[in-house]
């Protein structure tokens, strides 16, 4: 029958046939066996995507080696701030001690706490340039704020009764005391880790301030304050604080 067709047509058809066969063979050979299993995609891709180790381990993982943090961090407003947010993903922990402490805390903390119009009003925010002691934005936030137990520093914990009682002090507060009060409390009662000054012996007070002034003290902020004060001002403050009653809600730390 085919000899009725001109030979070039036959050869053309054969060529076409070969081409189609090759195309079909390519399809069969090159199709991934897991394709079409669940749809128009390579089913093997799904387990591949599900594999892979997570980088961020979660705070529970950090607390395994740092159990001391369970005492403060989960009980404070920062409990929603995961350890790894500030300290980096813990996949490579344990690391050399100290390498995970954030260096620039101003930058880190202001990331969340810089006052910005779009931030919800209920969220604690500060204007960097106006924040006490953040002068020129060089004072690390952690000098006054504990990142694992955050809160404002000068908290009014004094009851009205105590307040009125203490108001009857003989010695009037020198002008410089306002500054001290911000960290050490209105009545020098001390706040959190900032020690109480009320009732402190004047001589010890002056000694400590001189230590700071020399730069050998253990606090950068106190060094700065001490250097800013003259001998007379320090003496005045020492007198004042000595006169304040030590029997106050906070114990005298010394």
């Amino acid at each position: 029958m085919t000899q009725k067709l001109p030979k070039h047509i036959v050869r053309l058809l054969l060529l076409l046939g070969c081409f189609l066969l090759v195309a079909y063979a390519a399809k069969v050979y090159l199709t991934d066996p897991s394709y079409y299993k669940y749809g128009y995609y390579r089913a093997d891709a799904v387990p591949e995507l599900a594999a892979g180790a997570p980088l961020y381990q979660g705070s529970a993982y950090c607390l395994e080696c740092h159990p001391e943090r369970s005492a403060d961090w989960p009980l404070t407003p920062h409990k929603a701030v995961q350890c790894e947010v500030c300290h980096g993903a813990s996949e490579e922990c344990p690391v050399k001690e100290g390498t995970r402490i954030p260096a620039d805390t101003i930058r880190l903390c202001s990331n969340c706490h810089e006052k910005m119009p779009a931030r919800p009003a209920a969220h604690p925010q500060i204007v960097l340039g106006e924040h006490p002691f953040a002068d020129g934005e060089t004072m690390p936030c952690i000098e006054c704020h504990d990142p694992h137990a955050p809160g404002p520093v000068a908290r009014e914990e004094v009851t009205t009764a105590v307040e009125s009682a203490l108001a009857a002090t003989d010695v009037a507060a020198p002008p410089g005391a306002k500054k001290c009060a911000k960290c050490h409390g209105k009545q020098g009662e001390g706040v959190k880790k900032n020690p109480a000054l009320a009732g402190k012996e004047a001589a010890r007070f002056i000694e400590q301030m001189n230590l700071y002034r020399s730069g050998a003290g253990d606090s950068k902020i106190m060094t700065r304050f001490a250097k800013a004060l003259s001998d007379e001002e320090i003496a005045e403050l020492a007198e004042y604080y000595q006169s304040l009653p030590a029997a106050h809600p906070r114990q005298l730390k010394e």
Binding site: P6, K7, H8, I9, R11, L12, L15, L16, F19, A26, K27, L30, T31, D32, Y35, Y36, Y40
Partner: protein, 388 residues
């Protein structure tokens, strides 16, 4: 990584304009393919005798450009070696997946059609040559020297079938691109039911214009007289299709502005600003209105001879520019309008690189280099050249 400069607000991920000049060249080339095929079918299907001088040239043009059509895509893909997956495991809801099949089918069809059109001539050439040349023509004719009346009659019948099937094939090859843009919800500039039709008629227009230019240039190079009936026929075709295309493009834009859906503000800012020159002056003005007027004058004033040839050629060149601008304004323009509806970006065309200006120019001109070679191997001319 350098990203596109922008005004207003754009999504951060929009900073890189993904579809570059290669994706402008690609529909331009397939448009020329579809358009050239349409010109050839004026003669081969519709029997319009005035197009005989360009019919075979049109086929060869379609073939030469078609061979380069996958290149801009391959240069654009992140993994060109995996492009075969779109034919091995095509995802049937994707218009892009259809490209492989349309292109393969049309390529085979076009090769077959060219083969049949030139078969008898090739048989003769095989007979009249020796050595390597003879081997070449023998191979091309599949070692058959059958040019009997029966074989020729069969050739004609098959040619007709191929040409008829070729029209939807060629138009599918180019029309699906219009669908790619028109069906995309994400960009208001693209989303339109008219897109496939616009692309198609724009393509026909570009094909006719190209053949006009090629015919005039080839005739000049071969030092033969231009068949004025043929050129006039093409000019009429260009005129008619161009008017219709202009109406379609105008309608689409008018629709967009009139409906004024969300995001139209950014479009209006874009069209009145960065796009103004490219769109109204180049595409619509110089590219469409001007050639329509010129051709109108050519026809109304019954201009003939050299003046006609010059006028028609100028119109054809303007139209080729129009179609390129249309592709550019759609592809790049769409991406310069951010999906946010609130911003605009600016595409920077690199000079070098696989998606740069130089690559685009080479890619657009290369098919004509191939065409020059092919017309030497398979001369499509209806008349012999004055000087051999």
């Amino acid at each position: 990584m350098e990203f596109a400069p922008f005004t207003g607000y754009v999504y951060p991920n929009e900073g890189v304009i993904q579809w570059s000049v290669m994706i402008v060249i690609y529909p331009y080339l397939t448009g020329l393919v579809a358009g050239a095929f349409t010109v050839s079918s004026f003669y081969h299907v519709f029997g319009m005798q005035q197009f005989k001088p360009v019919a075979r040239l049109a086929l060869l043009t379609s073939l030469c450009v078609m061979l380069f059509v996958p290149v801009p895509l391959l240069m654009h893909l992140g993994h060109p070696e995996r492009s075969i997956y779109s034919m091995i495991t095509p995802h049937l809801t994707s218009a892009f997946a259809m490209f492989g099949f349309f292109a393969a089918f049309y390529m085979v069809l076009l090769i077959l059609e060219c083969w049949f059109v030139f078969r008898v001539d090739n048989v003769e050439r095989a007979r009249n040559s020796t050595g390597l040349k003879r081997f070449f023509y023998r191979a091309v004719t599949l070692w058959s020297d059958d040019d009997s009346p029966a074989a020729r009659a069969l050739d004609h019948k098959l040619l007709l079938i191929l040409a008829i099937v070729g029209i939807p094939a060629a138009h599918g090859l180019h029309g699906y691109i219009g669908f790619v843009y028109g069906s995309l919800k994400a960009r208001l500039w693209w989303e339109s039911d008219l897109m496939p039709i616009i692309f198609l008629f724009s393509a026909i227009v570009s094909g006719v214009a190209l053949l006009m230019v090629l015919y005039v240039v080839a005739s000049k190079l071969r030092r033969v007289p231009i068949d004025h009936a043929c050129l006039k026929g093409m000019t009429y075709a260009l005129w008619g299709f161009l008017m219709f295309t202009l109406i379609l493009e105008g309608l689409e834009f008018a629709n967009l502005v009139y409906k004024g859906k969300e995001g139209v503000d950014a479009i209006m800012e874009y069209v009145q600003g960065p796009l103004f020159f490219r769109y109204f002056v180049l595409q619509f003005g110089f590219g469409a209105l001007l050639p329509i007027m010129i051709m109108g004058l050519l026809v109304a004033l019954n201009i003939k001879g050299r003046a006609f040839v010059i006028g028609a050629t100028i119109c054809a060149l303007l139209v080729l520019m129009n179609v390129l601008m249309m592709r550019w304004n759609v592809v790049i323009g769409g991406q310069e309008i951010a999906k946010t509806g609130k911003g605009l970006l600016t595409y920077h065309l690199p000079f070098w690189g696989h998606e740069g200006l130089v690559a685009a120019i080479i890619l657009t001109l290369a098919p004509f280099g191939l065409l020059w070679v092919v017309t030497r191997l398979f001369p499509p001319w209806a008349d012999p050249p004055r000087s051999t």
